[in-house]
């Protein structure tokens, strides 16, 4: 492990490069949540009545918000990083400088986390305009911390996939078989209470489930003790996955 403050320089490189894509990505980050919130929240919500005393939209927002962080950071560390390693050989030139391979990889994960934060924040703003707000101002801080955690976790997981992906097509396995199912098993769109026991157990091993739980508490203001476990679960997993992603990616970069 050879990490240093130079992670920041790699982040800056991504930021400078990002300038050209700001407008399209902001548009996507805005339209995507609007699409979810309008179709599911308003369309489907009309049939669903009230969830815990509030319209369905209030149930939906916290889950969709963390999922958008997850998706943004995932795609950044899959496609974004892959282009930089394979197509542009950018990492090859970076590791020939005092920036180490670990710095470069962590810099990309940091960048993916930032992209996740941007998506999550835009979603937050859209939801606020629709009248869905967190229970209190201090809980917004908690939400920010959660978004960072989710970004680092899913960025690192995607980085692991990228570390052995032979080509772009390979990413479909991960997005279709891991990320998409995660959306439906983690209680983003509906509560998990009606799942049979084994499905509930399965869900409790999905990191997104825990992120959704925390996010929902931020919006509802109801904090159950189980949330501490959720936080620890995400944090522990994140540390492990981050470490593995650096190891594996370094192996791909340095031969």
């Amino acid at each position: 492990m050879n990490l240093s403050y130079r992670v920041y320089y790699v982040f800056i490189r991504n930021l400078v490069s990002y300038k050209r894509f700001v407008v399209p990505t902001f548009l996507v980050s805005l339209i995507e949540p609007l699409f979810y919130l309008i179709t599911f929240g308003i369309g489907m919500g009309a049939y669903l009545g009230y969830f815990g005393g509030k319209p369905y939209l209030f149930f939906l927002v916290p889950g969709v918000l963390v999922s958008s962080v997850m998706l943004s950071s995932t795609f950044e560390c899959l496609y974004g990083t892959f282009v930089k390693i394979v197509h542009e050989k950018l990492y090859d030139s970076i590791i020939a400088t005092p920036v180490s391979a670990e710095d470069a990889i962590a810099g990309d994960i940091a960048w993916a986390t930032f992209r996740g934060l941007v998506s999550g924040t835009l979603m937050f703003i859209v939801a606020a305009f629709m009248g869905v707000l967190p229970a209190s101002m201090p809980s917004v801080l908690l939400l920010l911390v959660l978004m960072v955690f989710v970004g680092v976790l899913f960025g690192s997981m995607a980085m692991i996939v990228t570390s052995f992906a032979p080509n772009f097509d390979f990413f479909n396995y991960y997005t279709e078989l891991v990320i998409m199912p995660m959306l439906f098993f983690s209680g983003v769109f509906f509560p998990l209470d009606k799942f049979p026991g084994w499905m509930k157990t399965f869900s409790s091993f999905i990191p997104l489930t825990h992120a959704v739980n925390i996010s929902r508490a931020v919006f509802s203001g109801v904090y159950r003790p189980g949330l501490i476990f959720s936080f620890l679960f995400i944090f522990t997993l994140e540390v492990i996955v981050f470490y593995i992603s650096l190891k594996l990616m370094k192996k791909r970069l340095i031969k």
Binding site: R13, V16, S17, E88, K89, D92, I95, A96, T97
Partner: protein, 305 residues
């Protein structure tokens, strides 16, 4: 002069494949040192170990008094690398490529700006400062790679086939610049497949083949020792060898047949040429021996893939 790079029994393996097979060499401070060899000879693997992006399998490698190691940031700080492949950041402009890269070396912004202005002048790319990378020709991209390699004012410059795919104008400009850097005191390590490039730039070369060093020395001296001064090439079918050989052999110090051509290596081609005229032969050529002859003689004339 003291060596800036000293390698002893250097080995590099990729799984089963041995790319560098126990080589030893020394590179002196301030010289231009060339690694020559066909594809797969182990040149790139060797220099990657020198500039600390590839770990050694075994042996020792000391660069500027420090052991080469992938985590050796101090060595990376004093090394400039001109890569074989064009590794420019296509998402950024020419200027942005340089300013972002300067960051990696902890060069303060103001200082970086001055250096970039100087370097763009040096590689004649001032007018392309704001261009995107896609808008540059291959020659311009290679020049930008040189500017990028010089941002940290390197003591050691490693250039891996820096003129691949360039037209003669661009190639000569790059040679000019590399010589200029050497004159300013930098040590230059070069890999190339172009013998002309080696003769133009290198004080000393090693010829590598299949992971081993076959010869080491000053280019002109290598040519004289291995080949002689001149080469006479005769385009003649193999069947006729017997007829002429006895007449020609007394005048050459070595000969070789490759396909439809007979090569004679001589100190002086005059006598052999006279004989050829006497024999009424037509399709022949007398030329000075070059490093390319040494290279082909040592690494074989067959295709290496």
């Amino acid at each position: 002069m003291k060596p800036i790079v000293a390698a002893k029994d250097l080995v590099k393996k990729y799984g089963e494949l041995t790319a560098v097979d126990g080589i030893s060499f020394e590179i002196r401070e301030g010289e231009c040192f060339g690694f020559l060899g066909p594809n797969g000879a182990g040149k790139t693997s060797t220099i990657k170990m020198i500039h600390c992006v590839s770990p050694l399998t075994s042996g020792t490698l000391i660069v500027n008094g420090l052991p080469a190691h992938i985590n050796n940031r101090a060595l990376k700080m004093i090394t400039g690398v001109v890569p074989q492949e064009i590794t420019l950041d296509t998402g950024l402009t020419v200027y942005e490529n340089l300013i972002v890269f300067a960051n990696f070396f902890d060069i303060p912004k103001r200082e970086a700006k001055t250096r970039i202005a100087d370097l763009l002048k040096f590689v004649e790319l001032e007018h392309k400062r704001k261009s995107k990378i896609d808008e540059l020709s291959t020659g311009m991209k290679r020049r930008l790679l040189i500017a990028k390699a010089l941002l940290n004012h390197p003591k050691l410059i490693v250039a891996d086939e820096p003129t691949t795919g360039l037209d003669p104008q661009a190639k000569h400009l790059i040679w000019q610049r590399l010589r200029q850097l050497k004159n300013q005191g930098a040590t230059l390590i070069l890999t190339t497949q172009y013998m002309e490039e080696a003769q133009q730039l290198c004080d000393r070369v090693v010829i590598m083949h299949r992971g081993k060093i076959l010869r080491e020395g000053v280019p002109s001296k290598l040519v004289e020792d291995e080949i002689g001064r001149e080469v006479v090439e005769i385009r003649i079918p193999k069947e006729e060898d017997e007829k002429i050989m006895s007449h020609l052999l007394p005048f050459s110090c070595g000969h070789e047949r490759v396909g439809d051509t007979l090569y004679f290596y001589c100190q002086d081609g005059q006598h052999l040429m006279k004989k050829l005229i006497e024999l009424n032969m037509h399709n022949y050529l007398n030329r000075p021996a070059s490093l390319e002859d040494v290279f082909l003689k040592l690494t074989g004339r067959g295709l290496i893939e």
